[in-house]
């Protein structure tokens, strides 16, 4: 009897955890594959590397995951989204390749040290982030419009850097970041993505950044009066976001060992925003969950890979994506859950709290 009670209590605790639904959604998307693609979860070592759909999901979601981390911070702090991340990826990739190629269109050996190229790329990306941050925090331009500027200009800048060409760096060492370290069966991007998530989590744990960001995102005016510099905090979050986009850009360009200004990271900004939302985060800012965004990113990539595995034509893919997204967010919507709780007779639980937005006097 007591055991059962405990069990129930435990179950309730799990189902009410904020990551419960995002995780369920991810699981459902993954499991849906088993029907059509029985070997979906099969992982083998092939040619010295891990091989299988699941590996693809994890590998391919790396850039998205890195972006989603930055997007989460920006969203929480400014209540808006950075839609320029895809373009910033292109800038970073372009700078990296251009430094490595020393200005030539295609090279077979590094013309400059790799480290220099990476630093230059990250600096360029951070600068882009700083530009966005300046417009948003200092000049008070709504994030979406402020970042729209680099969203359009970014790819132009990238092309300017590469002179309108695709710059190829056909050096094996450059493929490491987007490929495999010899002898290691796990793709490198996975390590980079994990590294970024861990690093950001540590920063959030060891400093007060999380508290500051959430506070500024919830009530800017009150935050100012308790001594927080909301301008600086927003600015920092944009710089971090830019920097992370830069990392993602290097990974993406390393995957194709070239700087394709027009295509690196294209449409990824929307997926990153979607990842944040699917992770149960509010796009209006405030409290956030990094783990949620990570799960969201996996969900989106799992969905894409699934649809490829099911041979859905690329141009029709958005239709299915849209439908799945709507189903997921509907399941997560508090109104819908309340409705379910009311109609399911079994749910003799205490009333759900009034909707999150309701304010108490």
């Amino acid at each position: 009897m007591v055991m059962a009670e405990n069990g129930k209590h435990y179950l309730k605790k799990i189902t009410e955890h904020h990551l419960f639904l995002p995780l369920v959604c991810l699981a459902v998307v993954l499991l849906a594959n088993v029907i059509k693609t029985p070997n979906f979860f099969q992982v083998s070592i092939n040619n010295g590397i891990l091989y299988g759909y699941v590996v693809d999901v994890v590998n391919r979601s790396s850039e998205l995951l890195i972006l989603a981390v930055g997007m989460t911070l920006v969203t929480a702090a400014s209540g808006g989204q950075d839609i320029s991340v895809g373009s910033v990826m292109a800038v970073s990739g372009a700078v990296c390749c251009q430094v490595l190629s020393g200005g030539q269109v295609s090279v077979n050996s590094f013309q400059n040290p790799f480290l220099l190229a990476v630093l230059a790329a990250l600096a360029a990306a951070a600068l882009c982030g700083a530009f966005n941050g300046l417009l948003v925090s200092k000049i008070n331009i709504p994030p979406m419009v402020a970042t729209l500027i680099l969203y359009t200009a970014g790819r132009g800048i990238a092309q300017l850097v590469t002179n309108g060409q695709i710059t190829y760096v056909r050096v094996d060492a450059y493929k490491l970041a987007g490929g495999y370290i010899p002898g290691c069966p796990v793709p490198t991007p996975v390590f980079i993505a994990i590294g970024i998530v861990v690093l950001v989590s540590i920063i959030l744990k060891k400093t007060t950044l999380r508290l500051y960001i959430e506070s500024v995102g919830i009530n800017g005016s009150a935050s100012r009066l308790v001594g927080l510099n909301s301008t600086r905090i927003k600015f920092i979050s944009y710089v971090i976001c830019g920097l992370l986009a830069g990392v993602a850009g290097i990974v993406a360009s390393s995957r194709i060992y070239s700087a394709d200004a027009n295509n690196i990271g294209i449409y990824l900004e929307m997926d990153a925003i979607l990842a944040v939302a699917l992770g149960g985060n509010l796009l209006g800012g405030g409290k956030f969950s990094l783990a949620g965004s990570v799960i969201g990113a996996f969900t989106i990539q799992a969905l894409t890979t699934t649809l490829y595995a099911m041979n859905v034509a690329a141009d029709q893919l958005p239709v299915y994506k849209a439908i799945v997204v709507i189903i997921i967010v509907t399941l997560q919507s508090p109104v819908f859950r309340k409705f379910i709780a009311l109609t399911l007779p079994a749910g003799r639980k205490p009333m759900k709290p009034a909707e999150a937005e309701e304010e108490v006097q």
């Binding site: 091989y51 299988g52 060409q165 695709i166 194709i256 295509n263 890979t305 595995a309 690329a314």
Partner: protein
């Protein structure tokens, strides 16, 4: 690449009046091919040759091109050169150009208008023919095999190049019972997507004979995916790779034997257009349609000289 031709210092006033003003509306700068195409125009219509080029980049948006043409009309340019984003939807604005008495020359993609007199001439590639060439190569090389399993990596769905090149292959498949498309998916003309799609295809299909990629970038991605999966491909391997565009990088891979057959898509339209304008200036009537010459390169016959001749 090079520096743009239009940046030169302004010539004396009286000279300016003598210059032929050409308004060129370009699709954008979405690929190396496009950049080479733009450069060709800029190099041709320089003031040294007696032209003033007004260049507009439409950023891949048709509505921008329509706006640009209206703008050219108000600027009273002598000729409008249009590299259309789409084949369709030019009736209204070309009518306006016609009303204003400005000849319009179409380059690259063909346009589909209700009245042919809305444009003066067309210069461009025949994507369908490109597709046919590539398909013919497959038919020729796999005469004795049945079935021939083809993986078809398409371009961006709806683009002219995709439509023409896909039609070429599909037509051949319909005519030759041994050819079989076992997977068809769009790689959106990019290396990254090409790789991602190919990875997925490889997990479902073991027996692949040909991968038909609709441009070089997709082919690079496919090569990466095959490499990772430990498959042999190209001139000396099991899987044959077909590609289009024949850019410098693409030909390099063809020479290296990674791509078996690469069909050219020539971006150098500038001189052709100039020829038409010269004809018009001297009162002649140019041909309504002019295809640019396009070759195809086979990995077994290509030489370094072919690559060196290629600037883009």
């Amino acid at each position: 690449g090079g520096t743009s031709g239009g940046d030169a210092a302004a010539p004396p006033e009286d000279d300016a009046n003598a210059l032929i003003v050409v308004g060129f509306s370009q699709v954008g700068a979405e690929s190396d091919w496009r950049t080479a195409n733009t450069q060709s125009m800029k190099d041709t219509f320089v003031e040294a040759n007696g032209y003033k080029l007004i260049f507009d980049d439409a950023q891949q948006k048709q509505e921008n091109q329509i706006t640009a043409i209206r703008n050219f009309i108000q600027q009273e340019v002598d000729y409008i050169v249009l590299a259309p984003v789409t084949e369709t939807g030019w009736d209204t604005v070309l009518q306006e150009a016609k009303d204003a008495g400005i000849p319009v020359i179409i380059v690259d993609r063909m346009i589909d208008v209700s009245d042919d007199s809305l444009y003066t001439a067309w210069v461009g590639s025949d994507f369908r023919q490109e597709g046919d060439k590539a398909a013919a190569w497959i038919v020729e090389n796999f005469k004795d095999k049945d079935p021939v399993n083809i993986v078809h990596i398409q371009g961006t769905i709806g683009s002219s190049a995709q439509i023409g090149r896909t039609a070429g292959l599909e037509d051949a498949v319909a005519k030759n019972s041994n050819l079989k498309i076992i997977a068809q998916q769009s790689g959106e003309f990019t290396q990254a997507k090409g790789q991602e799609v190919m990875e997925s295809v490889l997990k479902q299909n073991d027996k692949i004979d040909v991968v038909y990629c609709e441009n070089d970038n997709e082919a690079f991605g496919v090569i990466d995916a095959l490499e990772a999966a430990g498959k042999t491909y190209g001139r000396d391997g099991d899987i044959k790779i077909i590609s289009f565009d024949a850019t410098n990088a693409g030909l390099t891979d063809t020479l290296a034997g990674k791509i078996n057959y690469n069909v050219e898509c020539n971006p150098l339209h500038g001189p052709r257009v100039e020829k038409i304008i010269k004809q018009l200036e001297s009162g002649g009537t140019p041909d309504k349609k002019a295809y640019v010459d396009e070759a195809a390169f086979d990995a077994t016959t290509i030489t370094q000289a072919d690559i060196d001749a290629r600037s883009y």
